[in-house]
Amino acid sequence: MAMYLLRRLLATIPVMGVVALFVFALLHLSPGDPAAVIAGDYARPADVQRIRQQLGLDQPLHVQLAIWLGHIIRGDLGTSIFSGLPVATLIGQRLEPTLALTVCTMVIAVLLAVPLGVVAAWQAGTWIDRLVMVVAVLGFSVPVFWLGFLLIYSFAVRLEVLPVQGYVSFRQGLVPCLKHLVLPSCTLGLVYMALIARMTRASVLEVLREDYIRTAHAKGLSPRVVLLWHALKNAALPIVTVIGVGVALLIGGVVVTESVFAIPGLGRLTVDAILHRDYPVIQGIILVFSGVYVLVNLLVDVAYTFLDPRIRY
C-alpha cells in the first residue's frame, strides 16, 4: 500500500506539469491585457506599455514561462499583479470559507441522499421510489442561483431568521458561522443530494439482486439489517466515488453560489482573476486545484480498500 501511495503521489508531478503548461499557454494566448486593466480606463497607451514592461509581460512567452516554472519549483506560486499579495495568501484567505461550505454541503447532501437512495431502491417501483426520483430530478434541474434567491427571500428577507449573505469564520463563533452557511449549503446540497441519491439507488438496486442478499433474507435477517449491513456496504464503492467527485468540485469553487451569497471562496477568486487577467493567481489556483483533484481521487481509491477487502494495491 505504501508503495502504491508513493507511486500515485509521484505520478502527480507530470500531471501537474502538463496542467501548468496548458494553463500558461491558454492564458497567454487568450485575448486580454492585465496591464490595460490595471492602468484603468483613462490611462494613456504609453502608460499601459510601461506597466506591461514593469510586470515583465512584454518578455517573450518562453522567458515568462521559465520564470514562472522556476518560482513553482521553489514552492512560490507567485504574486498577484493587481493586489501585490502572494497567491498563496490569497488562496489561504479563501480556503476556510470554501472548505466550510464543502463540508456543510456534503454533510447535508449525504445525510439526505443516502437514506433516500436506499429507501428508493428498497421500495423500487412504488410511489416512494418515484417521489424520491422526482425530487432528485428537480434537485439537479433547478438552477442554483434561482434556488439561492428563493431561499434568501424566504428565510432572510421575509422571515429574517438567517442572514442574506456573507461568511463568518468559525473562530468568531460556531453559531454565527453555521447560520451563514445554512442557506448556501442547502442550495448546493440539493444538487449533490440529487446526484448521490440517484447513484445510491442504482447501486443498491444492483446489489439487492445478488445471491448473498437472498441468502441473508433466507437466514431470517430483518430488512433493515440486510439493507444497511449487506446491501449498502457492498454498494458503497460507486457512492463514495460520486461523493469524492462532489468534494473535488466543491473545493474547486462553486462560483454561482459564492456570488449569490457573497461568500469569499476559491470559485470567485478564480473567476475574478480570469476576468481581470491576473495571470499568477489563475495559474496558481489551477495548479492547486489539479493537485487537490489528484489527492481526492487518491483518497477515494484508498477508501475502496476499507469498503471492499478484496481490493488491495
Binding site: 485575448p31 486580454g32 491585457d33 492585465p34 490595460a36 486593466v37 490595471i38 492602468a39 484603468g40 480606463d41 483613462y42 490611462a43 494613456r44 497607451p45 504609453a46 502608460d47 499601459v48 510601461r50 506597466i51 514592461q53 514593469q54 498577484s80 493587481f82 493586489s83 501585490g84 499579495l85 490569497l90 484567505q93 479563501r94 434567491f149 434568501i152 427571500y153 432572510a156 428577507v157 429574517e160 442572514p163 442574506v164 449573505q165 456573507g166 456570488s259 449569490v260 451569497f261 457573497a262 469569499p264 470567485r268 477568486l269 475574478d272 476576468l275 481581470h276 487577467r277 491576473d278
Partner: protein, 533 residues
Amino acid sequence: MTTTTIERYCCVRALLLSVGLLALWSAQALGAGGTLTIIPHADLKNTDPIWTTAYITRNHGYMIYDTLFSLDDKFQPQPQMVDTWNVSTDGLKYTFTLRSGLKWHDGAPVRAADCVASLKRWGKRDGMGQKLMDLTASLDVVDDRTFTLTLKEPYGLVLQSLGKLSSNVPFMMPERVAQTDAFTQIKENIGSGPFKFVQEEWVPGSKVVYVRNPDYVPRAEPPSYAAGGKKVLVERVEWRYIPDPATAQAALAAGEVDYYEIPPVDLLPLLEKNADITVAILDPLGTQGMLRPNHLHPPFNHPKARQALLWMVKQEDYLRAVIGDPKFWRTCGAYFMCGAPFETDVGSEPLMRQDFNKAQQLMKEAGYNGEPVVLMDPTDIPILHNASLVTAQLLKKIGVNVQVQAMDWSTLTSRRAEKKPPAEGGWSLFHTWSTGADVSSPINNIGTSGGCEEKAWFGWPCNAEIEKLRDAWSRATDLAKQKEIVVELQRLLYETVPYVNFGQWFLPTAYRKSLKGVIVSPVPFFWNITKEG
C-alpha cells in the same frame, strides 16, 4: 443641608457634568462609534491611486490619504493639508506651509519633503500633473512644513491641479513611499487621511476594512465635496463587495449593510418602496456616455463620417436603453458636462437633431463603401452593452455594414490599444463612460485630446488646433477667458468629433435612513456620516 454636604453635592455634580461633557466631546472628537458597511461599485484590486486610474482605488485613496488642496462644490480649490500659501507678484513662485500637527498613520510627522516627493510621483502619471510639472522649474523644500513650487511661466491651474478631484488625485504619501517608481505599485498603505487601512483584514474580492484615524485633525470648515472638515463619526468602515445585485439589494433591505453605492437601475423601484431606505442622487455632475470612433482607419478617419455619427445618435434612445427612468438622465450637448462650470451647447445642433438622411449623406461624402465597421461590445457591462446594441441598430439604419463583436471588458481594453485596421484585429467603435469630474474641463477630458497617436487617448484623434486651445485654456488665468476658449474649443470639437456624447445620467445611491450626514459629491466620501440606532 450642611455646607459640607452642599459642597460635596456640588463637587459630585461638577464631576458628573465634566465626565458627561468629556464623553460628549470624545464622541464628537473620537467618533460616535459603530461600523459603517458599504457595498462599493467595484472590488478593490489594487491600492495605489497613482499607479491606476480605477475609481475604486481613487475612493480608497480618499479614505487613507489627504491632499494639499481640495475642490469644493463650486469647483474652487480650498486648502486641506495646506495652512497658508502665497504667490509671488510675478505669479511664478508658490509658497505652501502645511498645517501643524499632521501625522502619517505610523505616527511620523508629515513633512514638506513628503509632499514634494508625492507631487513628483503624481506628476509622472496624471495628465494634469504632467502639465503642471512641464511648467514647473523646481519644487523645493524650505523647512519641515514649507515648500515652494516655482513655475517657468504663469499658470492659472496650479491650485486646481493640486486639488484635482478625480483620478489621478494628488494624494500625499510619505517620502519613502512616494519615491517608488510611478509605474510600480507601492507596497505600503500609509497615509495621513481620516481613516487607516487595516491591511491584515483585506480580502481582495470580498472585504476592505478601515478604522478611524485618532490622530487626524479635521479642518473646521463644513464639508463641501472634497473640501472642508473630514470628521469621522464612526469607528470602522467596511467595504463588502457583493457581486450579485439582487443579494446586495436584499442585504441593504435586511440592514446587513448600510450603503449601496450604485444599485442597478432595475432594482431602484424596489429600493424606493422600502421605507427604511433613501434613494438619492449624490453625484450632481453625473456621468457622460461616450461613443468613441477610431480616427486612424476608415471610415472614421474622415471627419464627415464622424459627423454622420452626430446626426445618427439620439441621446434619448441611448438613455432609455441604458438607464430607463427619465428622472435619472438628461440630454446634454456640452462636451464638458451640463451643470458644470464650462457647460455650453455651442455647436451641438447636429447631436440634438437626429437626421438619418443627413447621416447617410455624410457617410457617402466620407467615401464609405460598405466596408465592415467593427463595433466592440462589452457584454459584461450592461450599460455599455445596451449602448452597443442601440448603436448597431442605428448604424444599420444609415446603411453601415456593422459587425458587432461581443467580448468582455478586459478584452476590449486590450483590443482598443491595437492600431491595426479593424479587419486585422483592430476596431472602429467602442463605448465607454466617464464621471463628470473627469470630463468637466478641457484639461481633464482626455477624450477631447487631439494629441495624435503619441499623446491622445485610444481612438487617437489628431488635431493641432484642439491642442492649442486646450493649452490656451490651461494657461488662461481668469474664468471669463476660460469660458471664451471653451466656446471656441467646443465648436471645433463638434467639427472634428473626437467622440460622440450619447447622454448624461445620474446613478443614485441607496442607503439606510439611519445614516445621517451623507455628503453630496461626485466622489463618494464616508466622513461626516453618523449611524443612528
